[in-house]
C-alpha cells in the first residue's frame, strides 16, 4: 500500500478546519478576510512558478488575474447561469493560452527587459478591457450574486470554501512541480540557462510550460473575484497593490521552495488584514513595502532561506 504523505494529511486537516469554521463562525467578516488571504496565496504560488522556480522575475503576471476576472464577467453575461466551477475552468484555459502566447513572444528577453515586457503586456490587457464595452469598459461591471449557496449559510462562506480548495490545489501543483524532473529543469534554467540547454534541457519548451501554468493559476485566482466584490472595473482588477502582493509574498517567504510563497502569503496577508481593520487601510501598503525592503536587503532567500541556513548551521 502506498503511504499517504504528510502533505495530504495537512491538506485534509486544513480543509476540515475550514469546513468546521463555516459552522461555528458568527461574523461574516472572517470569511471576507480569509478569502482575500487565500486569493493572494494562489497568486503568490502562481507568480512563484515563473518568478521563483524558473527565475523569470516579472511585474505583469497579475494581469492574468484580471483576465480571469473578466473571463468570468464576459461568460456570465453571455451564458447566464453558468456554474462558477465552469467559469473557473474557462478562465484557466484562456489565461493559460494567453500565458503561452505571451511567453512565446517575450521569453527570448532576459532579466530586466523581460520584467518590463510583462509590465507592458499588463498595460495592453488593461487598455483592451477599458475599451471593451461588452464587459462595461472603463465604467466597470456589476455582477449579481447567485441565489444559491449550496448547504452553506451564506454565499461568502461558499466562496471561502471554494477558494480554500483552489488554494490547496495550487499548492499541490506547485509542490509536485518543485520535486519533479520538470521542476529540476526549471531550476537549471534559473541558475544558468546556457548550461541548462547544453545539459539537454529544452529551455524554451520548459519556459512555455512555466508561463502557461502561471497564467492558468492566476486566472483561477481571478475567476471568482467578480462574485466576491460584485462590482469590477479595470482599475480594481488591474490593481497595482494586488500585483505587488503577488511578488512581495514569494520574495518574503522564499522563492526556491514551494512552501515559500505559502508562508509569505499567510504571514503578509494576515498581517495586512489585521492592520487594515485595527489601524488603517492606507498603512498596510506601507507595511508590505517596508517588509519587502527589509527582506531583500537582510534575507534575500526569504524565510525559507533563513530556516535552511539555521538548520544547516546547527547540524555542523
Amino acid at each position: 500500500m502506498k503511504k499517504i504523505s504528510p502533505f495530504w494529511v495537512c491538506a485534509a486537516v486544513v480543509l476540515a478546519a475550514g469546513l468546521g469554521f463555516t459552522q461555528i463562525a458568527e461574523n461574516e467578516y472572517y470569511f471576507t478576510a480569509l478569502y482575500v488571504i487565500l486569493q493572494a496565496l494562489i497568486m503568490a504560488v502562481a507568480w512563484n512558478i515563473l518568478g521563483g522556480f524558473t527565475g523569470y522575475v516579472n511585474f505583469g503576471s497579475a494581469g492574468f488575474f484580471a483576465v480571469g476576472a473578466y473571463t468570468s464577467i464576459a461568460l456570465n453575461k453571455a451564458l447566464v447561469g453558468l456554474p462558477l466551477p465552469l467559469l473557473i475552468v474557462a478562465a484557466a484555459v484562456i489565461c493559460g493560452l494567453i500565458g503561452l502566447g505571451v511567453g512565446y513572444l517575450t521569453l527570448r528577453l532576459k532579466g530586466v527587459y523581460f520584467a518590463i515586457a510583462t509590465l507592458a503586456m499588463a498595460i495592453v490587457l488593461e487598455t483592451f478591457v477599458n475599451n471593451w464595452s461588452y464587459v462595461g469598459g472603463a465604467r466597470g461591471a456589476y455582477i449579481l450574486t447567485p441565489e444559491s449557496h449550496l448547504w452553506f449559510d451564506s454565499y461568502i462562506q461558499m466562496l471561502f470554501m471554494l477558494m480554500l480548495i483552489l488554494a490547496i490545489g495550487s499548492v499541490a501543483i506547485s509542490r509536485k512541480l518543485n520535486f519533479s524532473r520538470l521542476g529540476r529543469g526549471l531550476a537549471a534554467i534559473r541558475d544558468d540557462e546556457v548550461a541548462a540547454e547544453c545539459a539537454g534541457v529544452p529551455t524554451l519548451r520548459l519556459k512555455l510550460v512555466s508561463t502557461t501554468v502561471m497564467g492558468a493559476m492566476m486566472g483561477v485566482a481571478g475567476a471568482p473575484y467578480p462574485f466576491f466584490v460584485t462590482y469590477v472595473d479595470p482599475l480594481s482588477a488591474f490593481n497595482l497593490f494586488v500585483a505587488v502582493n503577488a511578488i512581495a509574498m514569494p520574495m518574503i517567504g522564499g522563492t526556491a521552495h514551494w512552501v515559500g510563497p505559502v508562508i509569505g502569503a499567510l504571514l503578509v496577508g494576515s498581517m495586512q488584514e489585521i492592520v487594515k481593520v485595527n489601524i488603517s487601510s492606507e498603512l498596510n501598503i506601507l507595511i508590505v513595502g517596508i517588509m519587502l525592503v527589509l527582506f531583500i536587503t537582510l534575507a534575500p532567500q526569504g524565510i525559507v532561506g533563513l530556516a535552511q541556513k539555521y538548520f544547516r548551521g546547527r547540524r555542523r
Binding site: R184, D191, A195, E197, A199, G200
Partner: protein, 240 residues
C-alpha cells in the same frame, strides 16, 4: 575509424568581422583532437557552432552522418555532443550531485536507467574524484573542483563527443595533471574529445592530432610533431 563529427565549409561573421571562414574539421570516434590558435582566432566560436550556442551563417555540421546544422543545443546534447565551459557555469542553487543529475535526467534520459539516476550520478562523481563533495553546494566549490564539475556534467550527458573549452586555464601544475588524467580516462571509455587549450604542454601530451586556427581559418591539421615544425603555425604564434 569512422568519422562522427564532420564540419564542412563553416563560416560565421559578427557584423563586419569574419570570425570563421570555410573551416573544415572532422573528428573520428574515440579520437583525441587538440584545437589551438592565438587569441581571437575563432576557437570558441567554432565550438559554439558545434554545440549549437551559435548558428553558423554558411556550411554544414554533421554528427554521426546526420545533419545537425539547425538543431537547437539541447537536441545536440541528446544526440551525444557535450561541452564544458571555459568559465564554469555550475547550477549554483543545487548541490554537486543535483548538478550531475540534470544532464542524466535530460540529455541522457533515453540512455539512462531512470530508477538509478542517483547511483549513476555518484559513479560519475567518483570517476571525477568529486564523490566526497556530492552534498556540497555547487557555488561553494574551489576552482579546480568547479572545472571537474563542468566535466562531470558533460560526462553525465553520456556523450560520444566531448568538447572541452580551456578546462585547465589558470590551474597549477598538479591540478593540470589531474584534469588531464580525467580527460584521458573519459577517452578510454570511448568518448572522442576536442580539447581547446592554450597550455601547449597539455595539448601536445594529450592530442593524437592537432588542428590550428588563425584569424578564422584553419592553417594546419596533423600530428603534434608536424604542427610544432610547421612554419605557418610558428608565424601565427610568434609573428614574422
Amino acid at each position: 575509424m569512422s568519422v562522427i563529427l564532420r564540419v564542412e565549409r563553416l563560416s560565421k561573421h559578427f557584423g563586419g568581422f569574419q570570425a570563421l571562414q570555410d573551416v573544415e574539421l572532422h573528428v573520428s570516434a574515440g579520437e583525441r583532437l587538440g584545437l589551438i590558435g592565438p587569441n581571437g582566432s575563432g576557437k570558441t566560436t567554432l565550438i559554439n557552432c558545434i554545440s549549437g550556442a551559435l548558428y553558423n551563417d554558411a556550411g554544414t555540421i554533421a554528427f554521426e552522418g546526420a545533419d545537425i546544422t539547425r538543431l537547437p543545443p539541447y537536441q545536440r546534447a541528446r544526440l551525444g555532443v557535450a561541452r564544458s565551459f571555459q568559465i564554469p557555469k555550475p547550477f549554483r542553487s543545487m548541490t554537486v550531485l543535483e548538478n550531475v543529475r540534470i544532464p542524466l535526467e535530460y540529455a541522457a534520459w533515453k540512455r539512462a536507467e531512470h530508477r538509478r539516476i542517483n547511483d549513476e550520478a555518484m559513479q560519475v562523481l567518483e570517476l571525477m574524484g568529486l564523490k566526497d563533495r556530492a552534498d556540497v553546494n555547487a557555488g561553494a566549490l574551489t576552482q579546480v573542483d568547479m572545472r571537474k564539475l563542468e566535466l562531470a556534467r558533460a560526462l553525465a550527458a553520456k556523450p560520444k563527443l566531448l568538447v572541452s573549452d580551456e578546462a585547465m586555464a589558470g590551474l597549477s601544475g598538479a591540478e593540470l595533471d589531474e584534469i588531464l588524467e580525467i580527460l584521458l580516462a573519459l577517452n578510454r571509455r570511448g568518448v572522442a574529445v576536442i580539447m581547446i587549450e592554450h597550455i601547449m604542454r597539455a595539448v601536445m601530451k594529450f592530442s593524437e592530432r592537432v588542428a590550428v586556427l588563425d584569424a578564422g581559418q584553419k592553417i594546419a591539421d596533423g600530428d603534434p610533431q608536424s604542427i610544432i615544425a610547421n612554419p605557418e603555425v610558428q608565424r601565427a604564434y610568434l609573428g614574422e
